[in-house]
Symmetry: C2
Subunit: 329 residues, 2 copies
């Protein structure tokens, strides 16, 4: 546990001033003679010098930190987006501070405050789902304080909050899927919480594409278990189900199967998002594909904007028909 070498140590070892050492080691436009440059580099190398990021941040009044707030990193939807954020971040030499917000809206508020303390350049909030109006308001307020400090806020998949937004074309994608299933007479929808704009858009789009009203609407948690539980509420005779997310659909399929229903012979099932694993379900799941990693990268790019007004990036979707609806249409 030796003390980390400081820039001063390097300067002394190289026989130059602090300023010179700083100029050669940490990108400055000022010129330094080749001789001194090499001496400093050699000294830094020998001492295994690494600049103290905190001290730099303090002196420079800026950091390379970006916050990534997501509902649950273990959920493939979120980890897919996170993956895109991480790869874009490393390409831009940014560091990512990550946190799960879970079901608690105030968790996001708390993390936003921490990020403000860390002087993060930006924060990316992915699909925080808040249960209460009051919580949502506190969140909006926290975002306001965060951006007031000069930081950038990007929300992914959840429009309506201040800041930049990356949203899929939920309505359009769902409409295409509805059209795909429009041949079915008895259609059920398993929807996540109605308060979520995402859910509403997907349901509305699906209905528009279907062309006739669904026979059943089941509301459930936006999780695998939510979908699993919803299986019990699908009426006999239903021939197709649209589920507002793949994660839910995955659970639903298991639940339907336990009821003795065959997919797609007895009942077709389609989801939304295109998380990787659904092509390995049996049958593989029809879905509306989202470029998850790409959404993450785009969010990071928005996060880098120096200033300017809020922008919204709409992500196009793509209908992917697989075996879970093969007898449909």
């Amino acid at each position: 546990m030796t003390r980390q070498p400081t820039l001063n140590d390097v300067a002394v070892a190289a026989g130059v001033s602090l300023a010179t050492a700083s100029r050669v080691l940490n990108g400055s436009d000022r010129k330094v003679s080749a001789t001194l440059h090499d001496r400093v580099m050699a000294a830094a190398q020998a001492l295994h010098y690494t600049a103290n990021a905190q001290a730099q941040a303090l002196a420079r009044r800026s950091t390379a930190l970006v916050g990534l707030l997501l509902h649950d990193i273990a959920d493939p939807y979120f980890s897919g987006i996170a993956s895109g954020v991480l790869s874009a971040a490393v390409a831009r030499d940014l560091r990512v501070v990550i946190a799960d917000t879970g079901a608690d809206p105030d968790a996001a508020v708390a993390h936003l405050s921490a990020l403000r303390g860390e002087r993060a350049r930006a924060a990316i909030l992915v699909g925080s789902r808040t249960t209460d109006r009051a919580g949502e308001k506190r969140l909006a307020e926290a975002i306001g304080q965060f951006t007031a400090a000069g930081a950038r806020m990007v929300c992914v998949g959840q429009p309506g909050l201040p800041g930049d937004t990356v949203v899929p074309d939920n309505r359009g994608g769902a409409r295409a899927l509805g059209a795909h299933l429009s041949g079915h007479a008895r259609v059920a929808i398993v929807a996540g919480p109605d308060r979520l704009r995402t859910v509403r858009d997907r349901v509305a789009g699906f209905r528009a594409g279907l062309g006739h009203p669904e026979t059943t609407l089941v509301s459930a948690e936006f999780s695998r278990d939510g979908g699993y539980g919803a299986a019990a509420h699908i009426p006999d005779g239903t021939t197709a189900v649209f589920v507002t997310s793949d994660v839910m659909a995955t659970g639903l399929c298991t639940g339907l199967r336990e009821r003795g229903l065959r997919i797609p012979e007895d009942i077709a099932v389609a989801g939304f998002d295109d998380i990787p694993v659904i092509r390995d379900l049996h049958p593989a799941l029809t879905t509306v594909a989202l470029p998850l990693a790409d959404m993450g990268s785009q969010a990071l790019h928005l996060a880098l904007a120096e200033d300017g007004p809020s922008r919204t990036v709409t992500i196009p979707t793509r209908l992917v028909i697989r075996d879970s609806t093969s007898t449909g249409s």
Copy 2:
């Protein structure tokens, strides 16, 4: 984009000294009179003051940062562990800087160096799989420099590197699975890269439990596609396959099915890890269960140790028999 209020701003607003403001706002054991305390709190509240984490770190010579380095956050094995790390971190008021290391061993080296610059308290490295000896050596060296600075290093699922270690009982778990499949005469193993100790332990344990040699050993990438591709190399007549990870097994099942094989009637399949989604495969996959989130929390706890020698935590495993091997045994 107003300037963030500083502690000095708060002190002035409250009419107290910098020191007093510091004492009430940022936990000190020193006592402050109730009057001043309240005045400071009120001022801080009014200004939306949040301490500059960098300045604190510099003055305190310590941070609340922990690094989390994983192969690929989009892989459910890693995101499961990450989830445990995050929940343990938030409970201890630690911040997590995350990065994917991918296939490149030097990515881990680079991130470790960045973490050193950030004066992170500890780093958790999850299953970095390096291809070359030289890279591994550079990694060990980077870990050496990291810990020399007084930071703690924890490796998860990958013994052999300096620092603390969290490893599952791969051998024991695989042995139980081998015993479960010992009734099969023609057994194949689909193994990840042989250079990985994890893979070797799982293969060795499985063989010990099986009690007789397997008929085929297929080597593949430690990924879904690796497993998928391996399906082509399973000889006809094989009645059971052990795959060294669930992610690979997931791909393998799809590949086998495309060959027209029924699971488990024609061929039983078993994996390892118990990632959440495998219970929703059809048939649900038999596996050796690992408490992924728990492993992550344990890693974080090891990361918090003040000092002392390296420790190793062995994680017990549990055989979970599901339908993919139901005709086996």
